[in-house]
């Protein structure tokens, strides 16, 4: 688990570096500080389970088993990217491992996940669908429609709220009525579990229990993970909207990677440093390789639009 979290952090660090070097083209939303949720929750899924993620989904995607090199190529818009360089960070996906995509539209993945779970139920499969979204997403209408749908049709769907307190530059509580997303999920008939998302082991335990219950036909469930993003909203956001010292305090006092490392060290695990170094090396190599990779074939701009009709510019 620590290996995965080190890899996620290393990937994000290289991605931020690449962004600073203008190799990453669009905006990226780093998940540094939220590795406990990615490893804890996504780690509790089977490879054949489906996952729908958000604009801040690098960690989720890695945790589901996607290839870091293909992901980094995607961030750099290069051929060989997991989406052929067409999607970028906010549309990163790897269907081969059940990662049905990040999403550039907040809370849009909630109703899509309802459909994915509906298909699983329709075909009587034992797969589980997981849908991860942020605290800000709970204020869009799709939150109500998706959770209600999952409850009404009794679907195998785990809704995971990655609550990092912020919606871009807005403190989410300031624009969220009532007790928050968990209370809303309960009012829609879903059992609610809350966990310290920065305690990776506790998160994994909670997630495992919820996923098992859902896989056994217990119906949809809601898992609320309190966490914190240590970077700005995007890699270019200085996040001056946050109280003085908050980010620093979280980075030192409540860092999921550090907390797990300490726990394992206490338990006598060794070779932990090696995990860190291996992760750093892997992701540095991924960036170097991505930087050297070619651009996608220009003609691919007309591929995968639709089978009928020609998207090519008519002879105008």
């Amino acid at each position: 688990m620590l290996a995965l979290m080190e890899r996620i952090r290393a990937f994000e660090e290289q991605a931020i570096l690449a962004a600073e070097r203008k190799l990453v083209l669009g905006a990226i939303h780093p998940s540094i500080g939220q590795e406990g949720v990615a490893a804890g929750v996504v780690g509790a899924l089977e490879r054949t389970d489906a996952l729908l993620s958000t604009h801040r989904g690098h960690g989720h995607t890695l945790a589901k088993g996607a290839d870091a090199r293909a992901m980094m190529r995607e961030l750099l818009g290069r051929a060989g990217g997991c989406c052929g360089g067409k999607g970028g960070s906010m549309h990163i996906a790897d269907f081969s491992v059940g990662m049905l995509g990040a999403n550039g539209v907040v809370a849009a993945n909630i109703v899509i996940a309802a459909g994915a779970a509906h298909a699983v139920k329709l075909r009587g499969e034992t797969r589980v669908v997981a849908c991860i979204f942020g605290d800000g997403a709970a204020n869009r209408g799709t939150f109500l429609e998706g959770l209600n749908w999952a409850r009404v049709f009794d679907l195998p769907l785990v809704f995971v709220c990655e609550d990092n307190r912020y919606s871009a530059s807005t403190a989410t509580v300031s624009v969220t009525g009532g007790e928050g997303p968990a209370a809303r999920a309960a009012s829609l008939g879903l059992p609610v579990t809350e966990v310290d998302g920065n305690d990776a082991l506790a998160t994994r335990a909670a997630a495992a229990e919820v996923v098992a219950r859902v896989r056994a036909g217990g119906g949809p469930a809601y898992l609320h993970c309190r966490t914190y993003r240590q970077t700005g909203h995007t890699s270019a956001d200085a996040a001056a909207y946050r109280p003085e010292g908050e980010a620093a305090a979280m980075a030192t006092g409540d860092d999921p990677v550090a907390r797990l490392r300490e726990t394992l060290a206490l338990a006598g695990e060794d070779g932990l440093e090696a995990l860190h170094d291996a992760a750093q090396a892997e992701m540095r190599a991924a960036l170097a390789e991505a930087e050297a990779a070619p651009w996608p074939d220009a003609a691919s701009v007309y591929d995968d639009v639709q089978d009928v009709g020609s998207p090519a510019l008519a002879a105008y």
């Binding site: 360089g85 209600n148 749908w149 009928v308």
Partner: protein, 327 residues
């Protein structure tokens, strides 16, 4: 062969598809009771509530769930009840379903049909009468189909369900009861092929959906006056049969495009502009578009009627362009 209505023809095609392929299912409000117009009558009894699904009033989730289920390999037919209500689910259709295959580099396929009943219908007024087919023709990734006859509603719905990309399928509410011969064993049709409704050498009249019947009526009147109008039913607005239209206009030298939707920004502009660009030299008279004024659809019939494109208007336009010799 059998005589059936436009509505029954679509129901027959959907039922046949569901019998043939377990992946095909349909979802929407009140489908158990047959759907608000009866297009699903008896289907829940035959296929069960798990394949003919009654949904909450949650358009964003009806559309979004259709997409999610399609990504997982099922083939949902999403019933939006009125095309106007699909405006509650435009992010799900346009930002998500239309873009998934391309955005994810071909990993995703979205074999989903979105049924959106369009058109003016017995004083339904401004929020229940719209025809926004031009919107979806403008969106890369979406196929757009507008059937005008019972046979077409059978064949085109079958083709739409068989299509592996999202299809916006727009039946006209005024045509539900239109009767016609339907060969349920007809050869499958290709999406994008138009249908020549009448032959004619003097003017090409392009239309789709309910307005095809006004065009055919106009052609009959014009024939009696010795004017040969060639009526073409596009059937699909994307892809659309440019070849058949351009070929016809090169023969007749005159184009009229007629549709019920607002003329400004209507798909008639795309047809007229394309003809002007590629067959401009063959034109013996300026192209003519007939569509609704840019006003809203009122409840009172006499106001609603002011927005209609009628057979008489089409015939007049034809007489005008035919009467006019090239400048």
């Amino acid at each position: 062969m059998g005589r059936m209505t436009y509505l029954e023809a679509a129901r027959a095609a959907l039922a046949a598809a569901m019998r043939a392929d377990a992946r095909v299912w349909c979802l929407g409000e009140d489908l158990g009771r047959g759907g608000v117009f009866g297009q699903y009558k008896g289907m829940q009894a035959e296929f069960g509530p798990d394949r003919v699904v009654d949904t909450p009033i949650s358009e964003a989730c009806i559309m979004g769930a259709g997409l999610g289920a399609a990504l997982m390999g099922t083939r949902p037919v999403v019933e939006m009840r009125f095309s106007d209500f699909a405006l509650c689910a435009v992010d799900e259709l346009v930002n998500q379903a239309a873009k998934a295959r391309f955005m994810f580099g071909g990993q995703a396929r979205v074999p989903m049909v979105v049924r959106q009943p369009i058109g003016m219908w017995r004083s339904s007024a401004a929020q229940h009468s719209q025809s926004l087919e031009a919107w979806y023709a403008h969106i890369p990734g979406l196929v757009v189909v507008c059937p005008s006859s019972p046979q077409d509603n059978h064949d085109l719905l079958a083709a739409a369900i068989a299509c592996d990309d999202p299809v916006v399928y727009m039946e006209h509410k005024n045509l539900w009861g239109l009767e016609g011969e339907v060969d349920e064993g007809a050869a499958p049709v290709t999406l994008g092929k138009a249908r020549r409704v009448t032959e004619g050498a003097d003017v090409t009249v392009v239309s789709w959906s309910a307005t095809v019947h006004a065009a055919a009526e106009a052609a009959a009147a014009l024939a009696a006056e010795g004017i040969g109008a060639e009526v073409i039913d596009l059937r699909c607005l994307w892809p659309w049969d440019q070849a058949m239209v351009l070929d016809s206009v090169r023969r007749t030298g005159r184009l009229i495009v007629a549709h019920e939707a607002v003329a400004v920004g209507g798909f008639g502009a795309e047809v007229a502009a394309t003809v002007a660009e590629h067959a401009g030299d063959a034109l013996r008279a300026p192209v003519r578009r007939l569509g609704a004024p840019r006003s809203l659809i009122a409840y009172a019939p006499n106001l609603e009627d002011r927005l209609r494109v009628t057979a008489a208007m089409i015939a007049d336009a034809a007489r005008d362009v035919v009467g006019r010799v090239a400048a």
